[in-house]
């Protein structure tokens, strides 16, 4: 036990001695949490829309006014011909071009039906899909308005049956993205920091040749590993605490569930990540290799965690892969506990999986760690 304490002491001293490194360890995650949480939003707004109006009638003006009045759209200057419209789209000066044909109003009056040509930049398919829904919702409203104008009837005379949909958004009724993203980004930052540092730490001793010196001391394998990894475990929990405070104070993230549970889960989760880092450093020779492997897994963990893109939309096989992704469980867990107030009972599956992973990976890492080369 005393040996472990000495190693831990040495490791802490090493971390605290390098002031520029220490600054980075704290500043980078905090800064990123503060800044990036604001940027991570899928809200589709500020949609730029351009009209080519060859009709110039009451009906076409009703249509344009409806878009003008809607806060999701910002109408650009009016274009004169389809060629200009295409050019605008190619330059990226607009997102949607709507072409109103010149018999638009006549067609509506005579045949009760008219066509609108709509072009949407669909490179980002999901955004284009949402934009399309917004456009069609407005066009539906316009239908009704124009009917009133053309037939000179009052609204009461056209009694259409209406099915109203009343949305109600639970747990987050203003659809605030930050409460959704902040806990997730915090999870990423804690994971990245501890994984990168732990993966680099032991391989560094290898690269500099100091590992051999330690190997010939009476220090036991487990003492060395615990001594090496414990400081990062503490560091992870400190960053988590700072992050939670920022979430509460700056972003006003609701914390409905038990904070104790969050700490309990994180403690086990960090063991898993540190074990993984140790495993990486066992199987690499240089810090560069270790970082590259850590980078590879980290990108996969991040993009397949369900934090940015929904897991349900992935194909089945990919959904099965996410079952091996520790970040997925942590993101799910922290959202359930903080935002929905889930208790131990609801998050037990996540906890059990993480615990099993932690035991497996640490077993593997300790087993593959050799004192002799």
């Amino acid at each position: 036990m005393r040996t472990i304490l000495f190693i831990i002491q040495k490791e802490f001293k090493q971390i605290f001695r390098d002031k520029s490194m220490l600054r980075l360890i704290f500043i980078l995650p905090i800064l990123q949490l503060l800044i990036l949480s604001n940027a991570a939003t899928f809200d589709v707004k500020n949609i730029r829309i351009s009209f080519i109006d060859s009709d110039n009638s009451i009906s076409s003006r009703v249509l344009k006014d409806k878009f003008n009045a809607n806060s999701y759209f910002s109408v650009t200057k009016e274009l004169t011909n389809p060629k200009e419209g295409l050019d605008f789209l190619q330059k990226g000066s607009t997102d949607i071009v709507i072409e109103i044909p010149n018999q638009f109003e006549k067609m509506l009056q005579n045949e009760k039906k008219a066509e609108l040509q709509i072009q949407i930049n669909a490179i980002d398919a999901a955004t284009a899909g949402v934009q399309n829904v917004y456009v069609s919702q407005i066009v539906q409203q316009v239908n009704q308005d124009i009917a009133v104008k053309i037939y000179n009837t009052t609204e009461n005379q056209i009694i259409l049956s209406r099915i109203e949909t009343i949305p109600s958004f639970w747990y987050n009724n203003t659809l605030n993205y930050k409460t959704f993203m902040v806990p997730g980004i915090l999870v990423l930052l804690v994971t990245m920091l501890t994984l990168f540092l732990s993966a680099m730490n032991i391989v560094r001793e290898k690269e500099l040749g100091t590992l051999e010196q330690i190997n010939v001391t009476p220090i036991k394998k487990y003492q060395f590993i615990i001594g090496k990894l414990f400081p990062f475990w503490v560091l992870g929990l400190i960053i988590l605490s700072v992050g939670l405070v920022i979430s509460k104070v700056v972003f006003n993230v609701p914390m409905l569930g038990s904070i104790l549970l969050v700490y309990g889960f994180t403690s086990i989760y960090l063991l898993l990540i540190l074990g993984f880092g140790l495993y990486i450093s066992n199987h690499t020779e240089t810090q560069q290799q270790a970082m590259f492997i850590a980078w590879f897994f980290m990108v996969i963990f991040i993009l397949m965690s369900g934090l940015f893109t929904p897991i349900e939309s992935m194909p089945k096989w990919a959904q099965n892969i996410t079952l091996l992704n520790p970040i997925r469980y942590f993101v799910e867990f922290i959202r359930m506990v903080l935002l929905k107030g889930a208790g131990l009972k609801e998050v037990l599956p996540n906890l059990v999986v993480i615990l099993i992973f932690a035991i497996l990976i640490n077993g593997l890492a300790v087993w593959s760690y050799k004192k002799t080369n």
């Binding site: 980075l24 995650p29 990036l36 604001n38 940027a39 939003t41 899928f42 789209l89 997102d95 509506l108 009760k112 008219a114 066509e115 609108l116 709509i118 949407i120 669909a122 490179i123 980002d124 398919a125 284009a128 899909g129 399309n132 069609s136 919702q137 239908n143 009917a147 259409l160 049956s161 099915i163 109203e164 949909t165 949305p167 109600s168 639970w170 747990y171 987050n172 409460t179 990245m192 540092l197 680099m200 020779e285 240089t286 560069q288 970082m291 492997i293 980078w295 590879f296 990108v299 996969i300 991040i302 893109t309 929904p310 349900e312 939309s313 992935m314 959202r335 929905k340 889930a342 609801e346």
Partner: protein
């Protein structure tokens, strides 16, 4: 020059000798493109929802059928009271509940008005919002169908064309993004770590007292990574083209030129990082911890930049990846020529010059 050649050769040997790193360097981008190209989509479909039907009449049944028929929703189960919603949400089994009020059909008939509540679990605002939008448009369509029999109604028919991506494949958005993330991080991380490695191991001193000029040392170290990154870029574009059906509508030559420009931008950022860090750990913190999330989040790779708050939109301008993503999408999907992307190209060039300038200023040829 001969000396320099020899040095570059040595650097190549260093990299190619290390089979494992080489395997990682080439294998991993391929694995990532494959995985993400097939798996990642920010479309929302197959959402599990539940129905709470107090009406149980013909109208509600018809709407439920419509919902069932759409690819967006899976009707997971029927629940029979509002209390059950809470526990279903907490388990995370369903994302939304459609609630039909009592006497739905009767109200629609007599009062011409009936309501459906769409209750969503908005912890994921994006999913909640999209579900609400989709349900609304399904129900609206249903309502319009009912109303077309009415005398005094008109209808504007939308002829919508999805430009550049008619089938709405999200892979068209992700391939340029993944390519950028890979090139950016690999180039910046590998160079910064490999240069600081020489510093940390003390071999930099040996190189500095050699007859090679300092800039030759740096270029010699960076050169193999230019080469490797170009190969990576080619592999990614080929995979995008052959596996995911990404079109290359613009000039291949232009695409190659812009990719090389971006690789150089990323490498010079790597050099800059190496001049300000004295250990590989610091270099890693700056290049990996410091760049990874900003490149993923602020570049427009996943989150549309136009939706961000204004300060974030301004901040995204300093991310080189943002400009490269615009360039790649413009060339590959829109098929435009250089005149449409001249601004982006100039910005990347300027950034490269700034990185190189700062590196020269910070570069120390003497020992402390």
């Amino acid at each position: 020059m001969k000396r320099f050649k020899g040095f570059v050769k040595k650097e190549f040997y260093h990299i190619f000798r290390d089979k494992r790193s080489l395997f990682i360097l080439f294998g991993m981008p391929i694995a990532q493109i494959l995985l993400f190209g097939f798996a990642i989509t920010n479309e929302i479909n197959n959402v599990d929802i539940a129905i709470l039907d107090y009406a149980k009449d013909a109208e509600s049944e018809k709407i439920i059928q419509k919902i069932k028929a759409s690819k967006y929703f899976n009707i997971e189960n029927q629940i029979d009271n509002e209390k059950a919603i809470e526990s279903e949400f907490k388990n995370g089994k369903i994302k939304a509940v459609l609630l039909f009020e009592r006497d739905f059909a009767k109200k629609l008939e007599n009062q011409k008005k009936a309501t459906v509540q769409v209750i969503t679990d908005a912890t994921e605002p994006n999913v909640a919002n999209t579900i609400t939008n989709y349900t609304q448009s399904i129900i609206q369509n249903y309502q319009n169908q009912k109303n077309t029999t009415q005398e005094q109604s008109v209808s504007i028919v939308m002829q919508t064309r999805m430009l550049y991506n008619a089938e709405l494949k999200s892979v068209f958005n992700f391939v340029p993004g993944v390519m950028t993330v890979i090139l950016m991080l690999v180039s910046a991380m590998m160079t910064s770590i490999s240069i600081t490695r020489e510093k940390e191991l003390g071999t930099m001193e040996v190189l500095l007292v050699s007859p090679l000029k300092p800039f030759q040392v740096i270029i010699g170290k960076v050169f193999p990574y230019v080469f490797l990154s170009i190969i990576n870029a080619v592999v990614i574009v080929l995979m995008g083209y052959f596996i995911f059906g990404m079109p290359i509508r613009g000039s291949l030559f232009l695409l190659a030129f812009e990719s090389i420009l971006f690789i150089i931008t990323a490498l010079s950022l790597g050099i800059l990082i190496s001049t300000v860090s004295n250990s590989q750990q610091t270099a890693m913190m700056l290049s990996l911890m410091g760049l990874m999330l900003p490149v993923i989040i602020l570049s427009g790779f996943i989150f549309p930049i136009s939706s961000m708050p204004l300060p974030m939109q301004i901040m995204s301008n300093i991310i080189p990846a943002k400009w490269f993503i615009i360039i790649v999408k413009s060339i590959m999907l829109k098929g435009v020529g250089i005149s449409y992307i001249i601004k982006e190209t100039l910005i990347l060039t300027l950034m490269t010059l700034i990185f190189i300038g700062l590196s020269i200023k910070n570069y120390k040829t003497r020992l402390e």
